[in-house]
């Protein structure tokens, strides 16, 4: 797979050079003038491919998703393992499975038709009125129509919660009972016992779970293509339209096919290669972390959905 991508992208890699990652101008070139050849690479006149906005957009969007989704997944998993009755926990397990199974195109439609309008008319105006103090000032600015960075982040958060919650839940279930009982016997409240025993026991695994979720968010395509507004530019505020690598590939391949020199398709291959590299690094890191914290246990962690 890597080989196919590299072969396909090679002329683009040569022509675009490092500017692919440092510039943010994405132009397919003039379809009406004859193709030109530079250094052995045939391309259209006036092409310029800079993927900086795509890479940054991908990272921003996934970071927002993680920031929103992780606390939800962690809190829910803790509650399910520590406090809920077994039967109720099983019901929630089913909920997680359904949530993980809902197609991303359905999340995308929900985001663009239901969630986006609600957020832009009821929630974002309130957020935009927050005081202009540094951490909160990111929320200021025109709120747009609900298609944009923050909405995409929220939809992604909903989508990556199941994998993070399920992985965290499985890790917590492996904590042996002895230390927990010991902690409570010392008179700790359940919260204190959790902080001293369970949370430390699963710490690196939980980081792995979060990174696993991040990997999902980075590669998600269809939902982002629907709710992000799909504009290749750097968003002017947190509500503004944006796009990611994956969404751009799916949006642009159609028009890239009209490029008779094939160069647009090659540039997309380079983008796909960049995305592959990012997600692989993230996923390998996640698996290593999850594995390290559960090396001696028989249960599969993060397996399946």
């Amino acid at each position: 797979m890597v080989a196919v991508l590299v072969v396909e992208a090679w002329p683009a890699i040569r022509f675009n050079g490092w500017a692919f990652f440092t510039s943010s101008d994405w132009t397919i070139g003039s379809l009406y003038s004859p193709p030109v050849t530079t250094g052995g690479v045939t391309h259209l006149l006036g092409v310029h491919y800079g993927a900086l906005d795509l890479v940054v957009g991908t990272l921003e969007c996934s970071a927002i998703a993680l920031a929103i989704g992780f606390p939800i997944a962690y809190g829910a998993a803790v509650l399910v393992v520590e406090r809920l009755h077994r039967r109720l926990a099983a019901v929630l397990g089913l909920c997680l499975e359904v949530l993980a199974g809902i197609p991303s195109v359905v999340f995308g439609l929900w985001g663009v038709l239901v969630l986006g309008p609600v957020l832009s008319s009821d929630v974002y105006p309130v957020l935009a009125k927050l005081p202009d103090i540094p951490p909160l000032s990111v929320f200021r600015g025109p709120v747009g129509n609900g298609e944009g960075l923050l909405t995409a982040g929220i939809v992604l958060a909903v989508m990556i919660v199941p994998i993070m919650a399920a992985t965290t839940r499985d890790l917590l279930r492996q904590v042996p009972i002895g230390p927990k009982e010991g902690a409570e016997a010392l008179g700790m409240t359940r919260h204190e016992a959790f902080r001293t025993v369970q949370s430390r026991w699963v710490r690196s695994g939980v980081v792995g779970a979060a990174v696993l979720g991040l990997g999902r968010a980075l590669g998600e395509t269809i939902a982002v293509a629907l709710v992000s507004g799909s504009q290749i530019h750097s968003p002017s505020n947190i509500y503004d339209t944006m796009t990611t690598i994956a969404a751009t590939i799916v949006n642009q391949l159609d028009s890239a096919l009209t490029d008779p020199t094939h160069f647009a398709v090659r540039s997309l291959a380079e983008a796909a290669l960049a995305l592959l590299a990012i997600t692989l690094i993230v996923n390998v890191a996640a698996r290593l972390l999850v594995r390290r914290s559960s090396r001696d246990t028989a249960l599969p962690v993060g397996a399946g959905l």
Partner: protein, 305 residues
């Protein structure tokens, strides 16, 4: 009279030892306990809430436009039949190809691979599971649709989906086989079965429930994928032909992804209906999977999760 208790001290590393036994649970500690569990409860609500919201949104949007005749006419005349048939054809293809390859690699990893190769194969499969579906779709487009000149075709789409779901099938096969009770094997060998017979008549048979859950997960994923299909199978309003290559096919996720933004309300309605059918299919698959697990738990040595 109070018993002498250990007073707080310091560990060699300089960290303080809290003396939990010497104090009653103070109001502040009880309060902190309550607050933290309430936050976890809030997290759980934020997990279940969006799930219900998404499901309600899909059902509501679809209920407004649903007509039963949608199930009997093609997308050209305001129905979904060709998309449903296309999706089912695709599922059969995935079931056959991914089933054979995935189960075979799972069996190999569990039974025949030497330990080192087993580790490598497992890692490779985990890495593959982390590759974004759009990248797989792109590679399939470049390599199969263009490279092998298959054109948009069923085979290209099935192969793309197969690559996507193989890790899940292989993993669940491997787990199912490793959970077959050792006594079964020993019993069979004591009766003079050859290794192949043990495999086929005992191990494989009692691993079938686990394997089928893996296949069901694979089907659920395939039902909901859009990104790897857009440029491998394209779309058509007609029914699937018997041709394996150069055969465009309709499928549900395409209808949901593209039609919601079409100018005519007939098409927009179809998108909502398609979203509902997708969710119903996925939920049905998940429930069937649960049922299989429930009906067949007696075979596994460890309790199913």
């Amino acid at each position: 009279m109070t018993a002498p208790v250990a007073r707080a001290g310091r560990l060699p590393g300089g960290r303080e030892i809290q003396d939990w036994t010497s104090q009653r649970t103070s109001l502040a500690r009880r309060l902190r306990d309550q607050v933290s569990w309430s936050l976890a409860g809030l997290a759980l609500l934020l997990l279940v809430g969006p799930l219900l919201w998404v499901l309600a949104g899909v059902v509501e949007q679809a209920a407004r436009v649903w007509r039963w005749s949608m199930l009997t006419s093609t997308t050209a005349s305001g129905g979904l039949l060709n998309a449903i048939v296309g999706t089912l054809v695709l599922l059969v293809g995935v079931l056959v190809v991914a089933g054979v390859v995935g189960v075979a690699s799972g069996v190999y990893i569990a039974e025949f691979a030497p330990p080192r190769r087993r580790t490598v194969l497992r890692a490779a499969s985990e890495v593959l599971a982390g590759v974004p579906s759009i990248v797989i779709g792109y590679v399939a487009y470049v390599a199969l649709v263009v490279g092998l000149r298959w054109g948009y075709s069923l085979v290209a789409a099935v192969l793309a989906l197969t690559v996507l779901v193989i890790p899940y099938v292989a993993k669940s096969t491997e787990l199912a086989i490793s959970q077959v009770p050792t006594a079964y094997r020993e019993g069979a060998e004591a009766l003079g079965f050859s290794r192949a017979q043990v495999m086929r008549r005992v191990v494989f048979r009692s691993a079938i429930p686990g394997i089928s859950t893996g296949l069901i997960v694979a089907l659920a994923i395939s039902v909901g994928e859009t990104a790897p299909l857009l440029y491998t199978m394209a779309f058509t309003n007609g029914y699937p032909s018997s041709a394996l290559t150069h055969s465009q096919l309709g499928y549900l996720t395409y209808v949901a992804y593209i039609f919601w933004d079409e100018p005519t309300t007939t098409d927009q309605n179809l998108a909502h209906a398609a979203a509902l059918v997708l969710v119903v299919l996925v939920v049905a698959l998940i429930l069937v999977g649960r049922l299989v697990v429930r009906l067949t738990q007696r075979h596994s040595e460890t309790e199913a999760r």
